[in-house]
């Protein structure tokens, strides 16, 4: 506390009534009254401010993240994944659909460091090209889930009432649907071989998770004094929600969404493995794992590389989510 305390506590306690207050005021007026550079805050403020400049929740989080090795490693891995998802030709110029049955199950050789799979396709090329589907599914499903879930959950938490009650029951229903079983039922009727039905399915089943978190987070933020203060100053409900509540309630949503991204990538592989996710000619780690698993004894390399890529990717996103959670949760500081 930079405020000056010119009085000894013992000198004001015994007479802390009407008579003494003006006397206090006279003494104190010499402190903050002057607007000059010797005001009470200016002495302490510049040093504190210089060191603490713009240390909001977000800048604090960024400050922590930059020093967190878990974040740095996972961010590097993810950066690399995004790069090869966008431009796989950079490191794998071959065509993943260019297969030669004569080379089926061959081990690593010159120009083909990971060998060939059961169909005689180059495992290296397919593993690199498979990143695109995984990253697309993970990012799009997470975005969809985060937007839909936080909008619905946020509105329900803020306005409450009947809408909230209905939404809560709907989320309960969705929580009761087993994801893999739901995927087997819903996706088995889809004939499209693109990533979109899979993403749509994940958004459909994933939004209740985010919605529940966003709702709780908004309800917590709504009870803050500054929300009541904003109301008392005449801010409209939408303004309160967007400007005062949302920035204070978004952190848990970001954390859960980042962790969920990894699980969506794993889920895509699971569904593709089961034959209801992506279908050939799409290139996906799940499809390759599925195709290679019967030959695990003869050609383990065809299973190892796509599985390894999947594991590293999921791990990277979950580690990133963990690091972000640690940085955004002030209680862990």
């Amino acid at each position: 506390m930079p405020e000056p305390q010119p009085l000894e506590p013992s000198s004001y306690v015994p007479g802390g009534t009407a008579e003494l207050v003006p006397a206090d005021a006279e003494i104190l007026r010499t402190g903050p009254g002057g607007r000059g550079p010797r005001g009470p805050d200016t002495t302490a403020a510049p040093s504190v401010a210089a060191e603490e400049r713009v240390r909001s929740l977000w800048s604090d989080a960024w400050h922590d993240l930059r020093r967190n090795p878990v974040f740095l490693v996972s961010a590097l891995v993810i950066l690399f994944l995004v790069l090869i998802a966008l431009w796989p030709q950079l490191i794998a110029p071959g065509n993943p659909l260019d297969c030669d049955l004569a080379k089926a199950q061959q081990g690593p050789g010159p120009g083909h460091p990971f060998g060939f799979n059961g169909q005689g396709c180059d495992v290296y090329t397919r593993t690199v090209h498979g990143a695109r589907t995984s990253v697309t599914v993970g990012v799009c499903a997470t975005l969809g889930v985060a937007v839909l879930g936080s909008v619905l959950g946020g509105l329900a938490g803020f306005f409450g009432g009947v809408g909230d009650a209905i939404l809560s029951r709907v989320t309960d229903v969705f929580f009761a649907i087993p994801v893999v079983l739901g995927g087997l039922v819903l996706l088995s009727v889809v004939t499209s071989s693109t990533v979109w039905p899979v993403i749509g399915f994940m958004v459909l089943l994933g939004w209740p998770q985010i919605s529940r978190i966003a709702r709780g987070s908004v309800i917590t933020a709504r009870q803050n004094d500054y929300v009541q203060a904003a109301r008392a100053l005449g801010a409209s409900p939408m303004r309160i929600l967007l400007r005062h509540i949302a920035p204070n309630a978004i952190a848990p949503v970001i954390v859960v969404a980042t962790i969920a991204l990894g699980t969506y990538i794993a889920l895509e592989a699971t569904l593709s493995y089961l034959g209801v996710g992506l279908k050939p000619p799409s290139v996906s780690w799940g499809i390759d794992i599925s195709a290679a698993s019967p030959y695990i004894r003869n050609a383990p390399h065809a299973l190892l590389w796509p599985s390894g890529a999947l594991a590293v990717t999921v791990l990277a996103f979950i580690m990133l989510g963990d690091a972000v959670r640690d940085a955004l949760d002030p209680r862990l500081r």
Partner: protein, 324 residues
């Protein structure tokens, strides 16, 4: 009368029953006048203020009766949109704890400027210039440099000044200050109170000062309304009340102030606890704690007796109390 509260009733419906927080409160404030509303925690003073501002949490809170006249209009009959336009522009509130009443993720300048954006439709840039002006006005040193700082970068006293600046931004006719100095150091309290009183004089605003600090009251208030269990038990000009309280509760409060000439003696305390708002005692709500209670007090609710033209007491035996 700038603000007149008439026979206001507020209750909270909870799972355990109905808590009657405000039971027929009436008070008024003129322009340029300071009314201190004094009472313990749970006496209904803050709930009354929230009802006036229209920021009562409902549900569970509900206004079940009475009217709130502000500049002649009954606020309780206005549409929410009309009330929203009054809030902040014509009446504003200062909260107890500025640290929690300011949004932690927005720079203070943005929060001050928001008043002008919301009510005056100003651009962000103009609003920021206004924010600097306001911070200067409440004497925050280096306002122009600090307008981008976040609330936690200010000291407690400075934060409360920012709260005051926000409330005064649009020069409202009425300010409700809910324990504006309780969260501050004793040394800073006086500075903040002085600033508030000075700005009030300058702008001839009506001020409702909610407090439990008798010292603050004596210094700045014109009138006092003492609340107990959701009712006004005594209402009087400040000097009359200090000279001779007309209600045993007020007397008890004044007797429990530490005094220099009582050094070494045991400090007086009103015995017992404030009643639960779910089970307010029959008759006079204060009777279980009152040293002068009689049979009448246990059965009949005392009305607010007129003591003189400008003071009233809700005690059956106010005459005896006044005589000591």
């Amino acid at each position: 009368m700038l603000l007149e509260v008439r026979d206001l009733h507020v209750e909270f419906r909870t799972r355990d029953g109905v808590a009657r927080a405000v039971n027929g409160v009436s008070y008024g404030v003129d322009a340029g006048e300071t009314l201190a509303v004094l009472g313990e925690s749970g006496s209904g003073k803050s709930v009354t203020a929230q009802a006036i501002m229209g920021i009562l949490d409902s549900p569970p809170g509900r206004i079940t009766g009475g009217e709130i006249l502000f500049q002649g209009r009954d606020l309780l009959r206005l549409k929410e949109e009309e009330r929203r336009r009054i809030r902040g522009a014509e009446m504003a509130m200062i909260f107890q704890d500025a640290l929690s009443a300011l949004n932690p993720v927005l720079p203070v300048g943005d929060q001050l400027g928001e008043m002008f954006v919301v009510h005056r439709g100003m651009s962000r840039k103009d609003a920021r210039a206004k924010a600097v002006e306001l911070m200067d006005r409440v004497r925050i040193p280096g306002a122009a440099a600090r307008v981008r700082d976040y609330p936690h970068q200010f000291s407690g006293g400075m934060r409360q000044r920012i709260m005051i600046a926000m409330a005064l931004a649009l020069e409202p006719a009425l300010i409700i200050a809910d324990e504006p100095t309780t969260a501050l150091d004793v040394t800073v309290q006086a500075q903040v109170m002085d600033l508030l009183a000075e700005l009030q004089r300058e702008l001839t605003m009506g001020l409702v000062l909610i407090t439990h600090d008798l010292g603050v009251v004596a210094d700045v208030a014109d009138r006092i309304a003492v609340m107990y269990a959701g009712r006004i038990v005594e209402s009087a000009p400040v000097h009359d009340l200090y000279k001779a309280p007309a209600h045993p509760y007020t007397r008890g409060l004044l007797d429990s102030i530490p005094r220099l000439d009582h050094k070494g003696r045991e400090l007086y305390a009103i015995k017992g606890l404030p009643p639960s708002l779910m089970h307010i005692p029959a008759g006079c709500a204060f009777h279980p704690r009152c040293t002068a209670a009689r049979d009448l007090c246990r059965t009949d609710v005392p009305p607010l007796h007129e003591v003189t033209g400008e003071r009233g007491s809700a005690c059956h035996f106010w005459r005896e109390c006044l005589d000591g």
